[in-house]
Symmetry: C2
């Protein structure tokens, strides 16, 4: 693991790479009481030539800095962190599986380590990085998930912190997830406001491909970054690739608000072509159906079909870049 | 410190009272990443006869259970925890200062201790209790605070977790607090919605005493428990005492929504008699002024005056009960 300590008076200390080991912390440490914690999820990939790559790491570290600043934790130089990350990944190269779909999951995490119960800015912090080899999210090919559109619990709010990777956004989502699971659904589809705007799915961003009622025009859409949506890096990549590669095929690509009613109407008219979640873990995660006020909306998949065409192509395009099949500036060589 | 471990498969383990010591936790422990933490703040008081008392401890432990259940952490028997708490406090009796205003602060805290990065319910948890002697919040008598009514950040929302003592509610409030402090204010006055309903002050509940424009009738009011307000135990106690002791004097006592506009209008008409925050730390905390959209609202205190009449009496009434000057069922003998 990589560890870097910080104090308000002395700033960042020298980074240390040590064997994986427990953290020994005073029981009054602020992370235990007031949720001074934020993190990132990243992966190191190995190309078929054995070269090690990172995917848009600058985006992760910039977001980590936005997260930490929002809870009065320090920022770290993006360039310096990527350099440390690269050294760490190079040292751990033997733990990066050499097959498509496999990677070394990297978890940078920052916690407030001040040992007092007063509610205030932590005077000390620890930024650390741990890692673990991971296999493909869908080892036997795509498996479409089903969602429960959730009205009784609200993940994020304007003026809140739902756009950041703070620990605070995660613990409150578990009970709704367990309740959805009890009713046979994999994830919550988080909504917002009286209009029931669609926001996110579980811990992923949400995309829907719909056909226009009048013009028949196809649109790939995702909710805009209005402060309630996590600024997902796969989300951003999907949008860029869609603009570059789907628009020439006649697709519209839109970041805009849409409601459950709009989605339900598209599903019931057979105009919901496909829907998927995006995130670092699965890249894209196809959605089969959404439970909404007693109805079960079909999301365009035929029986036996586990992913739509856009979902499949996005996964291939992004993985081609991650594994160096396609050379692209998003893929950083270590 | 008192420690009780829990696992999903085996339930609660035997409680242990040990010397105060660091917690040694795997860096992948869920509290560090997803804010699986909730706590309580309580105090043990010593009467002038040297008897040790707790103040409504059943309320704290019931709330701890509501908090923990909301983030998929286990509940603990209220009676059993109060018994353990009593044993602990009896053992630590020498650390309870024997003077009014002084007490032993007690911090029960529960954390998720599962050592995996998957976002799910923790399979293990640790409930622990630490303590520290504390002096009077206002050692030289009351000091009225000033508030900044905060529009750009929102503490809590319907369908969220703002009614509970989750760590997740605290870290996101620090930056707004620092910004208010930079402008010379002690705390944020948290608002909600387009109507700018008053909700809480810093980490306290909020009370305002106003005089009706038409009838001249005096009302002590606080926002209702609508899911965005912490269910404060001092809040509840103030309401009960106000109904019992202020109503016979002609006061109205109301739990109701009110807006910044209503408060501002009362302040500008000279009808805002006084305002205060309530919480375990200070019992009551008088408010001198509130910054609101470029105006500075005076909250009824004359120059040199640090607390209003209701504020003073509430503090005396509650402390009389806490320190056993007045025998009352809220004060539990250890």
């Amino acid at each position: 693991m990589l560890s870097i300590e910080w104090t308000a008076s002395q700033g960042w200390f020298a980074p240390r790479i040590t064997p994986y080991q427990n953290l020994s912390l005073d029981p009054a440490t602020s992370v235990f009481h007031y949720a001074f914690c934020c993190f990132e999820g990243m992966k190191a990939y190995k190309t078929s030539e054995g070269q090690v790559r990172l995917f848009r790491p600058d985006k992760n570290i910039a977001r980590l800095n936005r997260s930490s600043a929002r809870i009065a934790l320090p920022k770290f130089s993006i360039d310096a962190f990527i350099e440390l990350l690269s050294k760490f990944v190079a040292m751990e190269e033997r733990f990066i599986p050499a097959a498509r779909g496999y990677s070394l999951y990297l978890r940078p995490n920052m916690i407030g380590t001040q040992r007092t119960l007063g509610v205030g800015p932590p005077g000390s912090a620890l930024l650390y990085l741990i890692a673990s080899p991971v296999g493909p999210y869908y080892p036997t090919g795509f498996r479409a998930i089903s969602l429960e559109a959730t009205e009784y619990a609200v993940r994020a709010w304007p003026g809140g912190v739902g756009d950041l990777k703070l620990g605070a956004n995660y613990a409150p989502c578990i009970v709704p997830q367990l309740q959805a699971a009890k009713r046979g659904f994999h994830q919550n589809l988080w909504l917002f406001g009286e209009e029931k705007f669609v926001t996110e799915v579980g811990t992923m961003n949400f995309f829907a491909a719909i056909r226009d009622k009048e013009t028949g025009k196809k649109t790939l859409m995702t909710p805009p970054l209005d402060g309630t949506i996590l600024e997902g890096i796969i989300r951003d990549s999907v949008l860029d690739l869609a603009r570059e590669r789907l628009k020439p095929e006649g697709w519209e690509v839109e970041e805009r608000k849409f409601t459950m009613d709009e989605l339900a109407s598209a599903a019931e008219d057979g105009r919901l072509i496909e829907a998927f979640g995006t995130g670092t873990a699965a890249v894209v995660s196809p959605v089969r159906k959404i439970s909404w006020r007693g109805r079960l909306l079909e999301c365009g998949l035929k029986e036996g079909q586990e992913a739509g065409d856009v979902t499949r192509r996005m996964k291939d395009w992004i993985e081609d870049i991650q594994y160096g099949v396609e050379e692209h500036p998003w893929s950083w060589k270590i």
